[in-house]
């Protein structure tokens, strides 16, 4: 339910995302030496079903990593299958990428984006959260029936690297209790 957030809280969250994503985009841009464009962040609360639908795309790779600290949750990074080679080339990988090199590249990209997004975000809120190492994620092997949550707050933004076909989405998903912590921190910021 998006009514979960007041208008001011939504505005603040959106702006925080904007800023941290800007930092992530800058990190990526520096790494690949090419301009990165950003979408407007999307903030929604989703049910397990909606979440599972998001994981239905066969044209992308998924990675996941969890974070722990004042707030907890998982960051999913969704990376397009197209354009991986050209990104790899920008990042000094040997192309065409073989299986191992591709996984390494995907995990590195995911880690940079997720790391920058999350740290930018938590720093501004004076919270801390430490990211674990990312792993590739194959949702088709996953059974959605076993989830332990009813809804999660999801913050999503899309990165596109100009000069290659590559694009990627970072999705930060918060655990239920973390949402409360987040709201408190937001309110502090808004006082």
């Amino acid at each position: 339910m998006n009514t979960l957030l007041s208008e001011d809280q939504r505005d603040a969250l959106q702006e925080l995302m904007n800023i941290s994503m800007g930092q992530a985009a800058n990190a990526l841009a520096r790494l690949v030496g090419a301009k990165v464009t950003l979408s407007i962040p999307r903030i929604v609360s989703v049910t397990p079903l909606q979440f599972a639908e998001m994981l239905n795309d066969t044209d992308v790779w998924y990675t996941r990593q969890s974070f722990l600290g004042h707030i907890r949750g998982e960051v999913l990074t969704v990376l397009s299958k197209t354009g991986c080679d050209s990104i790899g080339e920008l990042m000094d990988y040997e192309v065409p990428l073989d299986h191992d090199a591709l996984s390494e590249l995907l995990l590195e990209l995911a880690n940079i984006l997720a790391g920058a997004c999350l740290s930018g975000f938590t720093e501004q809120l004076a919270l801390n959260a430490k990211l674990s190492m990312p792993t590739l994620f194959f949702p088709e092997n996953q059974q959605t029936v076993h989830v332990h949550w009813a809804s999660t707050l999801m913050m999503e933004v899309e990165f596109k690297v100009e000069a290659s076909q590559f694009d990627s989405r970072v999705v930060i998903c918060l655990e239920d209790i973390a949402v409360d912590t987040l709201l408190q921190a937001l309110n502090r910021l808004l006082e």
Partner: protein, 436 residues
């Protein structure tokens, strides 16, 4: 004081490698994990430069560490991609198969001042055990997968074989039934036919007799009796009967002849050993089959034959080939919605006989073309088609080393072409029969 010494003891005993470097990759600190494995005594040596110490992976280390300095963000290295960044000996030198240590490494900014990273820490985790377990599992699952694939292949073969068996059983049963029925019908047809012959005979005689009496009567020339006779003839419809009776008899005899022909065909079709290999004429087979299928075809399509004369006889299983022709002809007729044509072309070269059966029916959709030879694929309503016709035909033709191809244009019609190679007998006979 107490605490720092505890802490340093802990760090030296940790089952993790810890190494801290500055911007020039100079090592500022490392724990025993490194020194033990390098065979250096901690206090022995001034701290070296990381890249010089590990020239092997210097390029990779440099890239990783740089990215942490620049981005102020942790970075990881996985054993799956880079198993031995630090070339340490395996942690299981005696019992393990591995010679080098598998490791996961985390690189993270340790000391950060105003967004500026001053030092980077590496934490190395020995995951040899995990890696070799994982690899063993992977090998195992690879084997399983392979076995599974083989089983699946076997399974589908079995299924195909079973279908074939089922179908040939079905055909055999129908054959036996037909043979039985044919036999049963043959007897009554026989005596009815001979009785009819006699009836026809008697009938002619009786008419002769009546004509004789009529002539005799005319000679008597008695008006009263003649009126009486005319009345009687009229009332008994003699004039009509005398023309109709021979016709009835004639029709009945003809009908019975047709019954006899059908019975004969049935017998031919359900030849006792339908899989017998012998020399046979393809045209005869086609014609026999056409007779069998006449009822399903004649209201739907006109048959146009184009047979090359003087075809060689072919060593084959004629009854099985008839089965194929029947399937194709019935399919062709069923594809025709109202009225249409079926063209049968037979031609031979030195090495093969080709039989093309072309119809002007509804045709086959492109997406179905791949599937029509699969057992149980049918587009016909339940009860009409079993979807076995083509798959059975296909397997029969395989035994003849023949091919079956199809061309179709939806809305226009289809053409099925059989190419039967003319082979020597030994090339065709199946696996040698054991002499017991």
């Amino acid at each position: 004081m107490q605490n720092t010494s505890l802490l340093s003891k802990l760090v030296s005993r940790l089952p993790l490698g810890i190494c801290i470097v500055d911007q020039s990759y100079k090592i500022l600190f490392w724990n025993d994990f490194f020194t033990d494995r390098l065979g250096i005594l901690q206090q022995d040596m001034s701290l070296p430069n990381l890249l010089e110490l590990f020239p092997h992976e210097a390029r990779f280390l440099k890239k990783k560490i740089n990215s942490v300095f620049v981005l102020n963000n942790a970075s990881f290295s996985y054993w799956e991609h880079r198993p031995h960044v630090f070339q340490f000996r395996s942690s299981r030198p005696i019992t393990g198969e591995e010679t080098l240590m598998f490791q996961n490494i985390e690189f993270f900014p340790l000391d950060v001042e105003a967004q500026q990273v001053n030092t980077v820490c590496m934490v190395v985790q020995d995951v040899t055990e995990l890696a070799s377990y994982y690899q063993a599992q992977k090998k195992l699952s690879g084997q399983l997968e392979q076995e599974h694939a083989e089983l699946m292949k076997l399974n589908s073969k079995l299924e195909a074989a079973q279908n074939q068996l089922l179908q040939s059983e079905k055909m055999a049963a129908i054959g036996q039934l037909a043979a039985g029925v044919a036999h049963e019908i043959n007897n009554p047809v026989g005596f009815v036919s001979s009785n009819l012959q006699s009836l026809q005979d008697y009938n002619t005689k009786l008419f002769k007799l009546v004509q004789f009496y009529q002539k005799l009567f005319a000679k008597i020339n008695h008006p009263t009796y003649q009126t009486l006779e005319q009345d009687m003839l009229k009332r008994q419809q003699f004039a009509f009967i005398s023309t109709d009776l021979p016709e009835l008899l004639h029709e009945s005899i003809e009908g019975l002849e047709r019954v006899a022909a059908i019975v004969k065909n049935l017998k031919a079709f359900s030849h006792v050993d339908s899989s017998e290999w012998q020399y046979a004429n393809i045209i005869d087979g086609l014609e026999n089959t056409l007779k069998i299928a006449a009822n399903q075809i004649k209201y739907k399509a006109e048959i146009h034959r184009n047979y090359q004369p003087n075809l060689p006889e072919l060593y084959c299983q004629p009854m099985q080939l008839n089965q194929v022709f029947l399937n194709l002809l019935v399919n062709a007729a069923q594809a025709i919605e109202d009225k249409g044509d079926i063209y049968i072309d037979v031609a031979a070269t030195e090495s093969a006989i080709t039989i093309a059966i072309k119809d002007t029916g509804v045709g086959i959709e492109k997406k179905h073309l791949q599937k029509i030879f699969e057992p149980f694929f049918t587009t016909k309503p339940v009860g009409t088609g079993t979807g076995l016709g083509l798959s059975l035909s296909y397997s029969i033709l395989q035994k003849h080393k023949a091919s079956l191809s199809v061309k179709s244009e939806p809305g226009k019609g289809s053409c099925f072409t059989i190419t039967l190679p003319i082979l020597a007998t030994e090339q065709l006979s199946e696996s040698p029969v054991s002499k017991n």
